[in-house]
């Protein structure tokens, strides 16, 4: 019964989405007030039905209803409850439903929080969100229905959720990531509305900024969580593999970050308007592209659930329609956007422009590396894969100038700035960074010269950035009578916090990639091995029973120069339903280093085990940095000016903005 309700709810949602899409758009074009007013209630209605569908699917998992195909293939009777509920998005159909649910959460938020927007603008934004919903609801209903039953001979037990996904990460990573992905739909809808209305000004940017920030916060957390999860769950200690699906989430992040910065310039100075619109379209297009890459199964990857050509074709057409029509609209309307605002060669505007270029180019480069194997297959150049060295090289080359300039960006004023002044302000930072970078690099006596250079460069950038950020924080919040600090707007603190986060992430990436010690060893019980100064004593293994698996647990006692450090208990698990083996690594975390032990396999003849023992310095800084970035975003989005009544400002500023910038 419940699945049928869910199924019905999806159909209702599609019907309402169609209304939400067409009626307000036509109403706005023909000045029919009542039609325009449909947008809000339709959005709420669609949300309610999609929520019913989502809860129905979760309920089917909760109630172990194996007559539902999707539940039968992704759950198991003894699967713990948290994973059973998370299994709702543990496969193609459910993940798609989560996507749609998130889109509705954002649409609802826009309805509830944009009462101050002009009614026509608000109606158009909601209509475009409804249009996106139409596409995805049709996709799920016609190609990937999660409520399909297997009757009458349904299985007594499910095939179980892929053991890789039976983890806390599965509970939070996909919702976070999807909230981020889908959140760019709001900026996209605002951009299309602006193109339709032909009005792009500072006020538009002010509306879009908090929504973009919101999406960015979720996406930052989602990507970081994914990386952290891969690190501890996949059992080989890597935190980023340049896997196509990782790239699919990283490209929208890069474009979204660029968008945040260009929005700042558009809001404060009224510049880069067309570019900002283009980025808003691009950020969401990359999200869609990511969805296509993942859902169509064109790429072989751990994340690809589907291998159905109909699905691929459907998403590809949808992708083509959305991106194609937006770009056509852009081409016709963007030329009417006037260029305004003067700025000097040396100004904050210029630095933001460079920031945007570097971020966009790196997204394009990653896209190239990701799609290259597909093109090669289409053009019959053979089966190839593009290795991580490509991505690492590209990324290092493009990110080095970016991080360097991030230090300067906040200091430099809008319009113009004196080079001498900047030189004075950054001299001390440069000296400190050179010294600390040099010392760190020279201390690594065993490294190759190229490694030393990269460590030097990394530490230099980190010190440079942290120094300049702290200096700017102090200088700008210091009042004239020296001892008191004045309160700056939250967005100011948010920006600096996010930039410090970037510094930590860079530190983690550089130091953990160059200084990690990774050993694959053969160990015997009651013997100890030394890795990077730590003694790991292997006490042997024990068998145990989990809820839906049998396990083997090893015990390693770690000490450092005779002092006890930690007990590490890595596991191997064999899941009942699939018979699949899984490795659960044991990690002793600290900000300055992680100790990582994973059981490989028991070697034939005797009690020896193959184990991975890694010592990874500063690896945790990567996720700590990402956390700071997301926190910085939260600070920025809590800024008071976004909560002020926008309406009065809109009415007040409309006249002078139009007179200043004829569109």
């Amino acid at each position: 019964m419940i699945p049928e309700i869910g199924n019905l709810a999806l159909s209702f949602a599609l019907a309402i989405a169609l209304v939400q899409f067409f009626v307000p758009l036509v109403g706005a074009a023909t000045n029919r007030w009542r039609w325009i007013l449909v947008a809000g209630p339709a959005t709420i209605g669609q949300f309610i039905f999609v929520a019913i569908a989502f809860v129905s699917l979760s309920w089917s998992f909760y109630a172990n209803d194996f007559s539902v195909q999707f539940v039968a293939s992704h759950s198991y009777r003894t699967l713990p409850l948290a994973y059973r509920l998370a299994a709702t998005w543990g496969g193609h159909e459910g993940a798609l439903l989560l996507w749609i649910f998130m889109l509705n959460v954002w649409s609802l938020a826009v309805t509830l929080m944009s009462q101050n927007l002009p009614a026509i603008t608000r109606a158009r934004v909601l209509a475009i969100l409804g249009g996106l919903s139409v596409g995805f609801l049709s996709f799920i209903i016609f190609t990937s229905n999660p409520f399909t039953r297997v009757l009458p001979n349904f299985p007594l037990d499910g095939a179980d959720l892929n053991p890789l996904l039976q983890d806390f990460g599965m509970v939070i990573h996909p919702p976070m990531l999807y909230m981020g992905y889908v959140g760019f739909a709001v900026a996209f809808a605002f951009a299309i509305t602006a193109l339709i209305e032909g009005q792009i000004d500072s006020l538009w940017a002010k509306w879009v900024r908090p929504w973009t920030l919101g999406a960015w916060i979720f996406l930052t957390s989602g990507v970081a969580l994914g990386s952290w999860w891969a690190y501890y769950e996949l059992g080989w200690g890597g935190w980023w593999f340049w896997d196509p699906v990782e790239n699919a989430s990283f490209m929208p992040w890069l474009i979204g970050t660029a968008l945040l910065h260009s929005l700042a310039a558009t809001e404060k100075r009224g510049v880069f308007k067309a570019w900002t619109i283009l980025l808003s379209i691009a950020a969401f297009s990359f999200s869609l592209l990511g969805t296509f890459l993942v859902r169509s199964g064109v790429l072989t990857s751990v994340h690809a659930f589907a291998n159905d050509p109909v699905r691929g074709a459907f998403i590809l057409s949808f992708l083509g329609i959305v991106i194609g029509s937006s770009l056509v609209l852009f081409a016709f309307r963007a030329s009417s956007v006037s260029v305004s605002g003067w700025f000097d060669w040396f100004s904050k505007e210029l630095l933001l422009l460079i920031n945007n270029l570097l971020l966009t180019v790196s997204a394009i480069m990653i896209l190239m590396g990701t799609l290259f194997p597909i093109f090669a297959e289409v053009f019959d150049w053979g089966k190839i894969s593009v290795g991580a060295p490509y991505f690492n090289l590209i990324f290092t080359v493009l990110m080095t100038p970016l991080v360097f300039l991030v230090g300067l960006g906040p200091i430099v004023n809008w319009r113009q700035y004196s080079k001498q002044q900047l030189g004075k302000q950054s001299l001390l930072a440069a000296i400190f960074a050179l010294i600390l970078g040099g010392i760190t690099a020279l201390l690594q006596s065993q490294q190759l010269l190229t490694d030393k250079l990269q460590i030097f460069l990394g530490v230099f950038l980190v010190v440079w950035l942290i120094f300049l950020v702290s200096q700017d924080l102090l200088q700008k919040s210091k009042s004239h009578n020296s001892f008191k600090f004045k309160k700056m707007p939250n967005s100011f603190y948010g920006m600096h916090l996010a930039h410090i986060g970037l510094a930590f992430a860079v530190l983690g990436v550089v130091l953990s990639s160059h200084l990690s010690v990774e050993e694959n060893l053969r160990v015997s019980p009651n013997h100890q091995v030394n890795v990077a100064g730590y003694d790991f004593k292997f006490e042997g293994v024990q068998e145990f029973r989990g809820s839906n698996y049998d396990g083997i647990r090893g015990l390693f006692i770690v000490s450092h120069h005779g002092d006890f450090v930690a007990n590490l208990q890595p596991e191997k698990r064999r899941y009942h339903a699939s018979g699949q083996w899984m490795t659960e690594a044991a990690i002793d975390p600290a900000l300055s280093r992680d100790l990582y032990v994973a059981l490989g396999e028991q070697l034939p003849e005797g009690q020896d085990w193959a184990v991975r023992i890694y010592v990874k310095p500063f690896v945790r800084c990567i996720w700590f940095g990402a956390l700071l970035m997301a926190l910085g975003g939260l600070f920025a989005v809590s800024d008071r000016r976004y909560r002020k009544k926008l309406k009065s400002q809109w009415l007040g500023s409309k006249d002078d903005s139009t007179s200043m910038e004829p569109i």
Partner: protein, 151 residues
């Protein structure tokens, strides 16, 4: 004489186009350098795979071919596309899904004597899954065998 603002915009556009061009050129070069081609056991056996560079080879692990060094983590096994088999060595820890009869992909270097030295062994997904590369390698070998029979 151009207006200063126009001139500035022109210089902007030119530098952006140049920058993009250089970046994409470098990118293409870097892609070319880092492409890892995939070869099937038949192709390796016929000498179509290059000796030296990093390549990927995939196939089924031959039943009973896995042998281990009792002292270290060195391991030897053979992979096949049901037409040709090639010997592979690897030192390290095999993935959880590595099993005799299972399809795997290994990344590494081909030696002159025909031994494949793997630096990485990949066996993804579940037991029923076979990576498209391996599936195609086997299909190709089968098609060839059929064609030969037909002659």
């Amino acid at each position: 004489m151009m207006k200063p603002q126009r001139k500035r915009r022109l210089i902007f556009v030119i530098s952006i186009v140049l920058g993009l061009g250089v970046a994409i050129g470098l990118g293409l070069y870097a892609v070319k350098k880092n492409i890892n081609l995939f070869y099937t056991p038949i192709e390796v056996a016929r000498g179509k795979a290059p000796v030296g560079p990093l390549i990927r080879v995939g196939g089924l692990v031959v039943m009973g071919s896995v042998s281990r060094d009792p002292k270290s983590l060195k391991i030897q096994f053979k992979i096949t596309d049901n037409a040709e088999t090639i010997p592979v060595t690897f030192e390290g820890i095999l993935p959880d899904l590595f099993r005799e009869g299972q399809g795997i992909i290994s990344m590494g270097h081909l030696r002159k004597d025909g031994l494949f030295e793997a630096t990485e062994v990949l066996a993804k997904h579940d037991e029923t899954y076979m990576s498209p590369e391996v599936a195609e390698a086997i299909k190709k070998a089968e098609a060839e065998a059929k064609a030969r029979k037909g002659q």
